[in-house]
Symmetry: C2
Subunit: 418 residues, 2 copies
């Protein structure tokens, strides 16, 4: 029986493959096109892309997750309504203006933006979803949007342009795609995401568009997106400030020709794993490119009494301004990790607590250990700084990602609208 078991694992590894595609993006899956233009929505943007369209040749099943902020942007209100139908063909997105806190006029503007897009690409308005990111409390410049939409040409490598058109304070476009192959099943998942401030997603995130050419049953698509978001975007924090615009959309156009993936099946498990990988890749890219960031912070909490507690602890520590500034300054001030854990609300017994900075044990059973201080400084000097806490209370585990806090975050955000 052990032999059989081993054979089964080897067989499984040989038959199913998830490969990252070089230069993959949201238009890598079959049948998705995109394009963007510089419509002049971003203030002083000097011709930067700020308006884009994502389009599918075939109608898509759509899953979505949105901000839990009680103040919701007009595009979020519109998308939530339209998602009840569960179908879409296109998404229009702009940066430079969030169309949030804009009252009834804002909703009218978002609806018109969808209608103008529908007209430009020749589809029904109800099949167009809308996303906007940028300054809150200002109206969309509708004339520039109308004009800009007529200058967008769609292409099957237009995802790269779309990724740039979504950027606000992001310094790099963030995109990826994976190819999945198994016996009798081949499909692709791609995505683009933008950060990089007001990032503390909760049940959704930032703006992120994911696509797949797999055929997927609608309920499973929503369920899979939820699960992936919980271990990726919902585990990222830049600055604790959840945005009113967070929008995560997953469009599945079925052009891979597979039988629709249903829950509990082997293809479903494979789809979930591939989607997890895409989402974690993009979530970490957001953390790494947080406003003013120089480093990616990773906090893993093991041995919590529950998964919920582990999530709470990991998210709280990765959000602590004092740990974030310590890492920035390569300051081995690990007491700040312990302090943040203690205020997280997670069950903690100080006398059971172990803490490693990188691989270096600094606290064991709540007692400080003599440790290699230059070694810890060396860990803090790297581009990715991992911290692991063992609570030794149960089996709950979670990993969260964030970034260091630098003077540049302050400079970026003290001069955002003016």
């Amino acid at each position: 029986m052990p032999g059989y078991s081993q054979y089964a694992i080897v067989k499984s590894v040989m038959e199913t493959k998830i490969d990252t595609i070089t230069d993959g993006t949201v238009t890598t899956p079959h049948g998705f096109h995109a394009g963007a233009t510089a419509a002049g929505i971003k203030q002083g943007s000097d011709g930067k892309l700020d308006l884009g369209i994502l389009f599918s040749q075939e109608p898509c099943v759509v899953a979505g997750l949105f901000t839990t902020n009680r103040i919701k942007s007009a595009p979020v209100v519109l998308c939530r309504e339209r998602l009840e139908r569960g179908r879409a063909i296109a998404v229009v997105v702009n940066s430079g203006c969030a169309n949030a806190s804009t009252g009834e006029q804002g909703l009218a503007d978002a609806t018109e933006m969808a209608a103008l897009t529908a007209k430009a690409i020749g589809v029904e308005p109800e099949n167009v979803l809308v996303a906007s990111t940028g300054v809150i409390g200002q109206r969309l410049p509708m004339d520039r949007i109308k004009d800009g939409l007529n200058h967008i040409s769609l292409s099957d490598d237009g995802g790269h342009e779309l990724a740039r058109a979504m950027m606000t304070t992001d310094t790099v476009p963030k995109e990826t795609a994976v190819a999945v192959s198994a016996e009798g099943l081949r499909f692709t998942i791609g995505g683009v995401v933008k950060g990089s401030g007001m990032i503390h997603p909760n049940m959704a995130t930032l703006l992120c568009f994911l696509t797949t050419d797999a055929a997927v049953e609608p309920d499973f698509l929503q369920q899979a997106l939820h699960r992936s978001a919980d271990i990726s975007f919902n585990m990222v924090s830049i600055d604790n400030d959840t945005s009113p615009s967070d929008t995560l959309l997953l469009l599945a156009n079925g052009m891979a020709g597979n039988p629709a993936i249903s829950p509990g099946s082997q293809p479903a498990e494979l789809f979930q794993r591939a989607l997890d990988r895409v989402c974690i890749h993009l979530a970490k890219a957001v953390a790494r490119d947080g406003e003013g960031a120089t480093k990616l912070l990773e906090v893993t909490v093991n041995g919590a009494v529950s998964k919920t507690d582990a999530v709470l602890a990991a998210r709280t520590i990765v959000s602590s301004p004092l740990w974030k500034t310590a890492v920035y300054g390569r300051d081995p001030n690990w007491g700040r990790v312990v302090a943040a854990l203690g205020r997280s609300g997670a069950e903690v017994e100080e006398a059971r607590l172990d803490l490693c900075i990188g691989d270096i044990l600094v606290l064991k059973g709540g007692t400080p250990q003599p440790y290699d201080e230059p070694g810890v400084v060396h860990v803090l000097e790297k581009e990715e700084v991992p911290v692991t806490l063992e609570l030794n209370l149960g089996t709950g585990s979670a990993t969260a990602w964030g970034c260091d806090l630098t003077e540049k975050y302050v400079i970026i955000n003290s001069q955002y609208t003016t």
Copy 2:
């Protein structure tokens, strides 16, 4: 009857007075002495005061509130134990080392620090309380403390020295006192507090020592302290990071000679008002002197469905890094206030929301109003920046205080231990 009512009010105003005492401090109330020395506990402190004693000529009734962080410093553990007796004569405090995350050795060190103090001033060790603030995860330098305690001379204006000895990244000592007089009743309340990072108190705060020469019943003393803390220290946030060392002590030595103040009485109401004033004064001083701060932020939320909701909203907004950086940059980006409100968890109906920056209405019923932008910038340029939100849902109100977020916060905290 209206005439009688009015007379009663006038009478009340004439008979009871709460006056702020110029240069008042924790030793202003009768019978309290203090002193401090530079014991060399602070790293590279160049002779700065870092060890102090607060002493009462008569034994005191004591009330205390401590951090809700699950990781508690050794002094907090010791104080909580000793407060069960409800009596104390002295408090010893050091800055430069928090004696937190120091395991069993830390508790032994805190106990010894109390014993050494008791010996130096000639009282029983159980009557001495201990507080420490500074770096987490390092042992107290007991030899320096032992030596330092022998160099402290106590005096009745030693409160000023004590205020300085508690400082870590604080730029100014924070102290106050008020004199209360009513028919047949005269007493004084004084206090000192230190900030100025890892400040997000919850049911307690930072290090703060309050004294009064009033005689006060023990249960009422604790109850009054709790109430005052809830509207003062618990409404302050510098950086969301609740410390493991938060300690708020109130010592009442009864030397004013009044009959012990009991709950529900007129003196009790007067005591509460005076204590509220002292606590709010000190809490605002902490916010104003937050690490790297240039401004005091004040956020008032009215019309919430409950007091709890109002507190949640006010605290969340005053803690928002994006609003804090906007104020620093004099950027009238009021959408960030709305976004923080929306994520606070408080009940919000966007269509009922009004927002004023200073006195200038920028949002009415959820719709942006044309407003005087240079006027808002002028509000943001002042040293105190008030914001008022009307949720128009109920009668819950709360005010919270914080500070702007500047490059200097990052610089201070990226170079704290090294």
